[in-house]
C-alpha cells in the first residue's frame, strides 16, 4: 500500500494503460466479429453476431430463469465447498499429525488426484439418484485430493524458526497448532481450497450438462439441443461471468490471508 501511494501518478499510469489497452482489444475483437459476421465472412448459423447474443440476454434471464439456475449451481458449489473444507482440511491435519497414516496414504492420495474421478458419475447417479445431491457429492469427491494435499503441504512447510519461537514462549501443543502452525499454513490451505473449488465447479457444471439436470450446465445443454444459438452463447457468457466473479472473490480472500504482501 505504501508503494502505491509513493508511486503516485506514474504508478497509476503504468497500471492503467495496459488494462485499458486490453479492454480496447477485447472491444475491437467483438466489433470485428460483428462486422465479419454481418458481411458473411463467418457463417452466422455457427457464430451469431455479438449484438444478437446481447439481445438474447433478456430472454435468457426472463424465460430461462437464469437467476434461479445460477442460485442452484451456486448452492451446489457451496455445498461441495463446505464438504471440501471440512473433510479436506481434517484429513490433511490427520495426515500431518499421524506420520504413519501419511507415509501409508500420501502417494495414494496424490495418485487419486490425477485420476478423472468425474467419470464415476453414473455410479453416483445410481446411489444418490438424479438429484442435486449427486452433483454435490461428485463435485466434492473429485476435488477432495488437492485440498488434502495442499493442507498437508502448508502444515509441513511451516518454517522451523516459527515453531521454535512458539516453543521458546512455552506454548502448549494445541496453542502451537492454533497460534502458529495453522495460521502459517492458512494461505497454502486456501490455495488448496481454491483449487478444489475450481475442480468442483468444473465437475458440477460438467455433470449438470451431461445428465441434463440442475442449473447452468443444463441450461447450456438445453439451449444447444434446441439449436438456440444466440441463447447458447448468451448462457455461456453467463457461466463465464460466474467464473469471473469467482476469481475476483477468491483473489480478494487470498490477499486478505496474506496481509501486506
Amino acid at each position: 500500500m505504501a508503494a502505491q501511494s509513493h508511486g503516485g501518478n506514474r504508478f497509476i499510469w503504468q497500471q492503467a494503460v495496459p488494462v485499458l489497452f486490453g479492454i480496447a482489444c477485447l472491444f475491437a475483437v467483438v466489433v470485428l466479429l460483428e462486422i465479419l459476421i454481418r458481411f458473411g465472412f463467418i457463417n452466422r448459423f455457427i457464430v451469431p453476431t455479438p449484438l444478437d447474443i446481447v439481445g438474447s440476454f433478456g430472454r435468457i434471464i426472463v424465460d430461462e430463469h437464469v437467476g434461479s439456475r445460477f442460485l442452484l449451481t451456486f448452492g451446489e458449489a457451496l455445498g461441495a465447498t463446505a464438504l471440501l473444507t471440512v473433510f479436506g482440511i481434517s484429513f490433511g491435519v490427520l495426515l500431518h499429525r499421524v506420520r504413519l497414516i501419511r507415509l501409508a496414504t500420501e502417494t495414494w492420495i496424490a495418485a487419486v488426484a490425477s485420476a478423472p474421478l468425474v467419470l464415476m458419475y453414473p455410479l453416483f447417479l445410481v446411489i444418490f439418484g438424479r438429484s442435486a445431491l449427486t452433483i454435490i457429492m461428485m463435485g466434492f469427491v473429485s476435488a477432495l485430493p488437492p485440498v488434502i494435499l495442499k493442507t498437508l503441504e502448508g502444515l509441513s512447510s511451516t518454517r522451523p524458526v516459527l515453531i521454535n519461537v512458539g516453543r521458546s514462549f512455552k506454548l502448549t501443543p494445541s496453542q502451537l497448532y492454533w497460534k502458529i502452525l495453522f495460521p502459517a499454513a492458512l494461505p497454502t490451505i486456501f490455495v488448496g481450497v481454491r483449487l478444489g473449488m475450481i475442480f468442483a465447479l468444473i465437475n458440477i457444471v460438467g455433470v449438470e450438462f451431461l445428465i441434463n439436470f440442475g442449473g447452468l450446465g443444463q441450461l447450456v445443454n438445453e439451449l444447444s439441443e434446441r439449436y438456440d444459438l444466440p441463447g447458447t452463447y448468451a448462457a455461456i457468457c453467463f457461466v463465464i461471468l460466474v467464473s469471473v466473479v469467482f476469481f475476483i472473490v477468491t483473489e480478494r480472500i487470498e490477499k486478505w490471508l496474506r496481509p501486506g504482501a
Binding site: 500500500m1 505504501a2 518454517r159 524458526v161 516459527l162 521454535n164 519461537v165 516453543r167 521458546s168 514462549f169 512455552k170 506454548l171 496453542q175 497460534k179 502458529i180 495460521p183 502459517a184 492458512l186 490471508l257 496474506r258 496481509p259 501486506g260 504482501a261
Partner: protein, 288 residues
C-alpha cells in the same frame, strides 16, 4: 559453583567482579551429534556464568557450536551432558525467564507489528486492551512507533528484526538470548541497531547473551566476550571489555576499541582459518 570464576583454568580471564548470584550458569556442557560420518562433537565442556545486568557475547567461527549452545540454553535442544541453571533453577525445556531472538526472520507474517509484539502476553492470558497497551510500549522502545498496524511484509529486514526483539522483550525475560540477530543485515544497519540494543540494554538493565561471529558487534556491545575454538567448540579465552558505558556506535572509531578488536581477532584468526581449511577439504573430498 559459588563464584563467577570460570571453572576452566585455561581460560584466562576474571569475573565481572560482582558478588551477586549469577543469573545464568552454564556448567560443563558437552553435546555431540550423530551424523552419517560418525559422531561430531559440537560443544566440548563449556562453562561460564552470566551476572545480572551483564552483556556477554560468545564469538567463534561458523561451526564452533555456538548455535547449538544457543538452542541448549533456550531449552530447545536436549540430550547433552552438564547442566544449565537459570536464576538457580536447573533448565528443563524452555524457561519463562529466558527470551530468545533468532537469527532467521521469525516475525509472524499474519500478525501486525503490535499483534506480533503482544503475542507472548496473549499466551500468558493478559486481557486484550492491557496487552495491546503493553505491546505499544515495547514497539516504541525499539523505535517502531507509527508502524504498529503494519504487517511484517511491509517492513525492512532490520525493522522486522526489531519486531522480533520487541516481541521477546515484551515477555520480560530475566535473560535475553540472541543468536546472530543482525547476521542478515548490512553493516550500517547493524551498527545502528547495535546502538538500539545498547540503549535498551542500559535502560532495562537487561541481562543479555549474544551469539555472534561479528567482531565489531561483539566489542561494541559486550562487557565480556567468550572466544570459542573451531570444532569441537571449546572455550579459548574470556576477554573483559573495559570500555566506558553508556556506549554508542561512535566508540567504533576509538583506539581502545581497535585494540580489543585486534586482540580478539588474533585468537579468532587461527580458529577461522582452521574452519576454512576443514570446509574446503570436505568439499574437495566429495568432488573427488
Amino acid at each position: 559453583m559459588g563464584g563467577t570464576m570460570p571453572s576452566n583454568p585455561s581460560v584466562g580471564s576474571d569475573s565481572a567482579g560482582a558478588a551477586t548470584q549469577p543469573l545464568l550458569v552454564v556448567d560443563d556442557i558437552y553435546k555431540q551429534f550423530e551424523t552419517a560420518e560418525g559422531p561430531v562433537v559440537a560443544v566440548d565442556h563449556v562453562s561460564f556464568d552470566v551476572a545480572p545486568g551483564e552483556f556477554l557475547s560468545v564469538i567463534g567461527p561458523s561451526g564452533c557450536g555456538k548455535s547449538t549452545l544457543f538452542n541448549i540454553m533456550g531449552g530447545l535442544l536436549d540430550g547433552y551432558d552438564g547442566h544449565i541453571k537459570v536464576a538457580g533453577e536447573t533448565l528443563r525445556g524452555p524457561h519463562a525467564s529466558v527470551g530468545m531472538i533468532f537469527q532467521e526472520e521469525s516475525t509472524f507474517p499474519w500478525r501486525t507489528v503490535v499483534d506480533n509484539v503482544a503475542f507472548p502476553l496473549e499466551i500468558a492470558g493478559m486481557a486484550k486492551a492491557e496487552r495491546l497497551d503493553r505491546a505499544r510500549h515495547f514497539v516504541e522502545l525499539v523505535g517502531l512507533d507509527g508502524f504498529e498496524r503494519r504487517y511484517p511484509s511491509e517492513l525492512s529486514g532490520g525493522m522486522r528484526q526489531r519486531v522480533s526483539m520487541a516481541r521477546t522483550l515484551a515477555s520480560e525475560p530475566k535473560i535475553l538470548l540472541m543468536d546472530e540477530p543482525f547476521a542478515a543485515l548490512d553493516e550500517q544497519t547493524r551498527l545502528l541497531l547495535g546502538d538500539k540494543v545498547l540503549q535498551i540494554q542500559q535502560d532495562l538493565k537487561q541481562t543479555t547473551l549474544l551469539i555472534t561471529h561479528n567482531l565489531t558487534e561483539a566489542v561494541q556491545l559486550s562487557d565480556r566476550i567468550l572466544v570459542m575454538t573451531y570444532r569441537p567448540g571449546r572455550m579459548k579465552r574470556m576477554v573483559e571489555i573495559k570500555l566506558p558505558r553508556p556506549r554508542s556506535s561512535e566508540i567504533v572509531g576509538s583506539d581502545a576499541f581497535g585494540h580489543y578488536v585486534a586482540q580478539i581477532w588474533n585468537d579468532l584468526r587461527e580458529e577461522a582459518s582452521k574452519g576454512l581449511k576443514d570446509d574446503e577439504a570436505r568439499r574437495g573430498g566429495t568432488r573427488r
